[in-house]
Amino acid sequence: MNAAVSPMSYLGAGYSLRSWLTTQDHKRIAILYAVSITAFFFIGGAAATLIRLELLSPHGTLVTAETYNKLFTAHGVIMVWFFLIPSIPATLGNFLVPLMIGAHDLAFPRLNLLSWYLYMFGALFTLAALIAGGVDTGWTFYTPFSTMFSSSYVVATVAGVFIVGFSSILTGLNFIVTVHRLRTPGLGYFRLPLFVWAIYATSLILVLATPVLAMTLVLLAAERLFGIGIFDPALGGDPLLFQHLFWFYSHPAVYIMILPAMGVVSEVITCFARKPIFGYHMMAYAIVAIASIGFLVWGHHMFVSGQSMYAGMTFSFLSYLVAIPSAIKVFNWTATLYKGSISFAAPMLYALGFILLFMLGGLTGLFLAALALDVHLTDTYFVVAHFHYIMVGGAVMAYFAGIHFWWPKITGRMYSARWAQFAAVVIFVGFNVTFFPQYLLGIEGMPRRYHDYPSEFQVLHVFSSAGAAILALGYLLPFVYLAWSLRFGPPAGANPWNARGLEWQTPSPPPEDNFPSKPDIPTRPYDYAAGAAAAST
């Protein structure tokens, strides 16, 4: 492939397609995932581009109302299940967890490969359904519309998502067993990097929440095919039952996206501030707390659905509780920066962008958790803006931070630092121009999922679409300069950032069995000597 790859590196283990498709090496499987999710990211992004083009004018003429509904559904389904859920865990998690704990692979390497095949099979199946016929229910598949009235390809779409669910469960299972059982001797739980804690907590959600979605989708398909009626009020069923089950998975699913992001950001912030993370134990507990409390709040998606108001009050209160561990994390990152010797390398810029955007997304979440205020804001663009700040501003920013941080480790090559910094700024600006106006649109009452709107909303929509153009450019940039670095980038060396994790003790790219010699176990994680500057590249 290139000269920087030594014959013993995992990249040199085989060049044929077959060697990739039958690999059981967690690092190669991570690459398989990275390539696949990147493809889905651009497909989902194409749908978003069409949506923003349609919304440029109040009575858009680009697509019909029906096509518009199918577009936002495709965008949601692809981005949530085929990009965001597997993004950090299946790529960076797969690559890094064994390295960070000094193991040679995950606990079940063959299962790991099976997970990727399940993911690909399910995702391509759904993609075919989305392209061949399309689905107009939104990614939430709410009943009874999805079961009784929609005339689109609901069952086929849901079948693919069901299969991808098993990929999630098996990946989570693999991580849980690996973290418990394969840590190198001497590496106790409280010496683990926070990224490993985050992937572990994410895995708990994958294993405990995904099966609930899977069985719910089975019921949904059965209802649509046979008219069972368990979700249909006309037949004596309970439509809210579907929403309860759906959100029991789908709210924690947000934490599947954001917890690994928090893990990445913790690694990056401490490295580029040259300081140990502030309050390591609190950070670890906060991760577990967010994962657990995240299971108790799903009803805040149902405040105006006809759910009992007592349940509403309970869910509202519990939702506020999640703010506590989330705030602990933001405070501790800030405290880590305090008096640090900060350098603004590209990973750090992405990570700082994450903190700002996550804060905005998190704080506006409190508006939505407030029972009375939510009545006004439900199903408006305020909600759209809120979750994009978390899932794109948060999760995708952190994914890019992670990719830029570990790129030299994964590929053995360095990318252009200046282009990377430039792209980080473009993405940050483009993101805010796209989504901040949507908060304002929501407050003014613009409902989500409409292709047509009163002309007084046009100014803000034009801002949003213009921002989307900047954002699209920003996302294309890394694609170009990272690809360039694969061929022309200077060799990175084992530890270009002078970072402290075990993964930096092995050559870049790592050899097939990860460590040529047993890595040194630090007495505490993030042992950055105060004042030592990061090695410049």
Binding site: H180, M302, M309, A311, F315
Partner: protein
């Protein structure tokens, strides 16, 4: 491995657990034909829980498992309780 052989409980103890399970089955079946003023459901559920516990503790060997394995089993039960209790918080208090 030899450790395992020594620590295997005798056949009799397994048969005793099985006999208990069959007894509980008879009990739950019998009690269902007696009107217990709305308590039938509770009795049936309690007996089912007892049977499940017997299977988990003796047949699935939770009795001899390490803390981690027990934690996995407990987490699943706890999470089911979360789904049922918070879900019913809505269904039972709807106006």
């Amino acid at each position: 491995m030899s450790e395992r052989v020594h620590s295997s409980p005798p056949v009799g103890s397994y048969v005793t657990v099985w006999a208990l399970l069959i007894l509980l089955l008879a009990l739950t079946l019998g009690s269902s034909f007696i009107a217990l003023h709305g308590l039938n459901f509770a009795v049936n559920l309690a007996i089912a829980c007892a049977k499940a516990a017997l299977v988990a503790v003796f047949f699935m060997r939770l009795r001899r498992s390490d803390a981690l394995t027990r934690l996995a089993a407990a987490a699943a039960v706890l999470w089911i309780l979360i789904l049922v209790s918070l879900g019913l918080a809505d269904v039972l208090t709807r106006v």
